[in-house]
């Protein structure tokens, strides 16, 4: 039928994943999340069987919260901005495949547990060491250029797309991932944050750190926020070289 499309979802529980297809009416401006919401209202698969609705994460539906990460036609991205008509036009097929991220523990259907990224933020001291929340006047002056850089880096939603796309993140490697490296650049670029620069660089200097980056550059291609991840990796590389030199003396 012309006015329908197929959502083919790789679903299930850990150890028991399988594909299931749903035929849905094509509505104007429909996206992957609104389509999953349609399934909730009528959870019947293409074979006409009543099934459990698909479990998925969603939040803002405006691509600022990072909740709805998944593989759409094999590409890691936010599902809310994945417009059905655009996908159909791009791929020339009416079948859209959804799958959960593969580099994180599966919870159920399209939900994975991305806690690891948040734990990594702790490892690299990803904050400013402010002297508390009482009035101490303004922060340091910051040039518009530096603000622009920090704002670009600070848009990171911890969505995990770059981690999913990175070939260096796998069972045999401890690579901390591109998102963390960009966060280190963010806090080291802040004049106050710079005071603790070395604390952030240390964890990136050993195993699993910057040296494990294979320069595949997948991260920057998939980042939904266009964060200059490879620039960040290069910048942190320079900072680490300097730091290693300082550490010698």
């Amino acid at each position: 039928m012309d006015n329908t499309f197929i959502l083919k979802v790789y679903r299930g529980h850990p150890g028991n994943q399988y594909f299931e297809e749903f035929e849905l009416e094509l509505r104007p401006f429909a996206n992957v999340i609104s389509s999953l919401m349609q399934i909730q209202k009528n959870p019947v698969n293409s074979k006409g069987e009543k099934v459990e609705p698909i479990a998925f994460e969603s939040g803002c539906l405006e691509e600022v919260c990072g909740s709805c990460s998944m593989l759409v036609n094999g590409f890691p991205r936010q599902a809310c901005t994945a417009l059905i008509e655009t996908l159909i036009n791009e791929t020339k097929t009416r079948v859209i495949t959804l799958a959960p991220f593969s580099k994180f523990p599966l919870v159920r259907d399209l939900i994975v547990d991305r806690s690891r990224m948040f734990e990594n933020l702790k490892k690299v001291h990803a904050w400013i060491d402010a002297d508390g929340s009482y009035d101490k006047g303004p922060g340091p002056k910051i040039s518009p250029e530096n603000q622009e850089l920090m704002y670009a880096l600070s848009k990171c939603m911890t969505c995990g797309c770059c981690v999913e796309a990175c070939p260096q993140i796998n069972e045999r490697s401890k690579f901390i991932g591109p998102q963390i490296i960009a966060q280190v650049q963010l806090f080291n670029a802040n004049p106050t944050g710079k005071l603790q620069e070395a604390v952030r660089l240390k964890p990136l200097m050993g195993e699993g750190g910057l040296g494990d980056c294979g320069n595949a550059q997948n991260c920057v291609r998939v980042c939904p926020k266009g964060i200059p991840l490879t620039d960040a990796i290069a910048a942190i590389g320079r900072q680490i070289t300097k730091q290693a030199f300082k550490d010698l003396f």
Binding site: V107, L121, K141
Partner: protein, 629 residues
């Protein structure tokens, strides 16, 4: 040594995190319970900015003028003491966030940059591009993570608040919460509970809110006896993109940076402005910038309620784009550096519509955006004799505090743009100071509370879970939600009339009956979102009733509450806070009213046709105000 007292903060948006941060700073152990990773909370959606009268460009702005604008913008319905202290704290809050590394836009000298927002004539809005809420939230998230590493904060993410545990004396002793992955219900004890769970926008579904914003926590507390105030005051944002799954916000900053709202003119039609002057609806075939014509002083930056009503009026006259309910919002003519400051939202528009707003005007329409109403909370003013025996931000349930969009305190009948982020952070800090004071006054601990109290509270939730999972009817709860949202959007938003409101109340009653007859398509015990939503939906139905009945009872026009049958503000009858309490026997809200604290400023006409920069005279300002920072 005595065990340190513990506090539960439910919700990890700006209000919850600023409260948790302050508590941890004061050495209190905090448990944050959140339905999502706190970094994904709805605060990230706030786009335009945060207000603070810092007057960095010599316009003569001051926190008192900010307070005046806020009180007037709220059509005098808000209690004035909390607003005054919030506005006085504004500049300090901006500096605090600045020190935390929040990526505010800068001037060439490296200072903070400000933009203009609705309902004011001053440039008082600090901003981070067009994703200010996201940036502020991230800065607080980072500070809270510091305390997490220090062991002062423990996070329970992907857990949902289900019920408050209250002892025989009516004192809060903890909560019942559910793990959203393994669906297990459990007890979490604490000596105080802070609710910071945001607004109930999802009731309307096609709102600018996140999918987390069900209002369920407040709905559950309301059923447990918490007073809910001013529920009928729902802000409709004038400029949103309509969508199938939600409405997406196009920030007021688009207009703050110079964006203009228009439709194509029609010389054959006339319109009357607020002063009673009749004018032609522009020139046929040419853009008609109706807000600029109708409100020459504030133009496109009239307060949100006014802009929404005018857009609706124009569309009802058949002047919307192609006769539809849509008008243009144009930023395409702005210089590049202005568009740069709006990049985040222009990207959103392009991603969801496929059109480039840098080249063509956007098509927008009003959508549900914010709830001014929420939990009733206390606010002893600084010069009240009982200031130190009562607790700010505490609900009528002892030891249960409420803050952020989920309280009713700071915005009256209409919120000014860029005041929400300020009220959330300010309220959070205030709560972070009040809770320790409450704890030190409290001479008992949750550990002494009998286990039977916790067990019976847990049992209520376990039983309800069993009940829901066992229901074997014909209704689908997600479909019921669509029906509820359709009625609420149609009858309880921009324009209300009593006949429709009564009909909506009947509709909600009908939905409550049909809700008994649902059947869950998922009965599993793992990440069962159907169950989670079905449970939340019960609360959403109750709050819908609060909103609709409040609107029905208020026969006047004030702020966002517009009732053409009663076209004037009626201060004598309705300059009062609406209080809804739950009547469990009849399963409906009881509406009563309490007086508004207007100790600084007497009500004046809320007029936006004049461009006078007034030096407002606020009276009786106390001299002993202690700000939270």
């Amino acid at each position: 040594m005595k065990k340190p007292k513990e506090v539960i903060v439910v919700g990890g948006g700006l209000a919850g995190l600023s409260c948790a941060m302050r508590l941890a700073e004061l050495g209190i152990k905090v448990k944050i319970v959140s339905v999502t990773k706190v970094k994904r909370s709805h605060s990230v959606c706030a786009q335009g900015g945060i207000n603070a009268a810092m007057d960095l460009s010599g316009e003569g702005d001051s926190p008192l003028i900010h307070a005046y604008d806020t009180i007037k913008g709220g059509d005098f319905l808000a209690n004035q003491p909390p607003i005054l202290e919030m506005c006085l704290s504004g500049p300090k809050i901006i500096y605090m966030m600045d020190r935390f590394g929040c990526t505010f836009n800068r001037t060439l000298e490296g200072n903070l940059d400000f933009r203009r927002f609705g309902g004011t004539l001053y440039n008082r809005t600090a901003f981070c591009g067009a994703s200010t809420g996201q940036q502020l939230l991230y800065s607080l998230d980072e500070q809270v993570r510091r305390y997490e590493v220090k062991g002062l904060v423990e996070k329970f993410e992907n857990h949902e608040f289900m019920r408050l545990v209250v002892d025989e004396e009516g004192v809060s002793r903890g909560i019942i919460y559910m793990d959203l992955f393994n669906m297990k219900l459990d007890v979490l004890k604490a000596d105080a509970v802070v609710i910071a769970t945001g607004g109930p926008g999802l009731i309307f579904k096609k709102a600018t809110t996140s999918t987390f914003c069900t209002g369920a926590a407040n709905g559950r507390l309301y059923m447990q006896g918490m007073k809910y105030a001013n529920g009928e005051f729902i802000q409709i944002h004038p400029t949103a993109i309509q969508g199938e799954d939600k409405s997406r916000l196009m920030s007021e900053s688009a207009r703050g940076e110079g964006g203009r709202v228009y439709v194509m003119g029609d010389s054959s039609k006339t319109i009357t402005n607020a002063d009673g002057k009749t004018m032609s609806c522009g020139t046929t075939g040419k853009p008609w910038y109706f807000l600029e014509e109708l409100y020459p002083a504030f133009g496109n930056l009239v307060p949100r309620d006014i802009a929404s009503r005018e857009i609706l009026r124009i569309c009802e006259m058949g002047m919307g784009i192609n006769g539809q309910s849509q008008v243009y919002l144009d930023v395409s003519f702005l210089p590049e550096e202005k568009k740069q400051k709006l990049e985040s939202i222009l990207e959103i528009y392009q991603k969801f519509t496929g059109e480039d707003p840098r080249k063509v005007p956007m098509r927008i329409f009003p959508a549900v955006h914010y709830s001014m109403g929420g939990a009733w909370v206390d606010w002893p003013a600084s010069d009240d004799p009982d200031r130190w025996t009562r607790y700010r931000q505490m609900t009528n349930i002892t030891g249960c505090f409420n803050v952020g969009e989920s309280d009713y305190q700071y915005h009256g009948a209409n919120r000014l743009g860029a005041n929400s982020l300020l009220s959330c952070i300010f309220g959070g800090l205030v709560t972070g100071n009040e809770v320790p004071r409450y704890l030190s006054d409290l001479n008992s601990s949750c550990d002494e509370t009998s286990s039977a109290i916790f067990e019976s509270a847990l049992k209520v939730e376990v039983d309800f879970k069993k009940d829901l999972l066992a229901r074997n009817g014909t209704e689908n709860v997600f479909a019921l939600h669509d029906e509820l949202a359709d009625s609420m959007v149609k009858y309880v938003t921009v324009k209300r009339n009593n006949k429709d409101l009564l009909q909506t109340l009947d509709k909600i009653k009908e939905l409550k009956e049909r809700y008994k007859n649902i059947s869950l398509a998922d009965r599993s015990q793992f990440a069962n979102q159907t169950f989670t939503f079905a449970n939340q939906f019960k609360s959403m139905l109750k709050l819908s009733e609060v909103i609709t009945k409040g609107a029905f009872c208020r026969d006047e026009f004030r702020g966002s509450h517009f009732k053409p049958e009663f076209p004037n503000r009626d201060d004598e009858k309705f300059l009062k806070t609406t209080i809804a309490t739950y009547d469990a026997k009849n399963d409906e809200p009881i509406i009563s009213y309490e007086s508004v604290d207007m100790r600084y400023l007497k009500p004046v006409l809320r007029d936006y046709t004049q461009a006078k920069k007034v030096k407002p005279k606020l009276e009786n300002i106390p001299t002993n105000i202690e700000l939270p920072l």
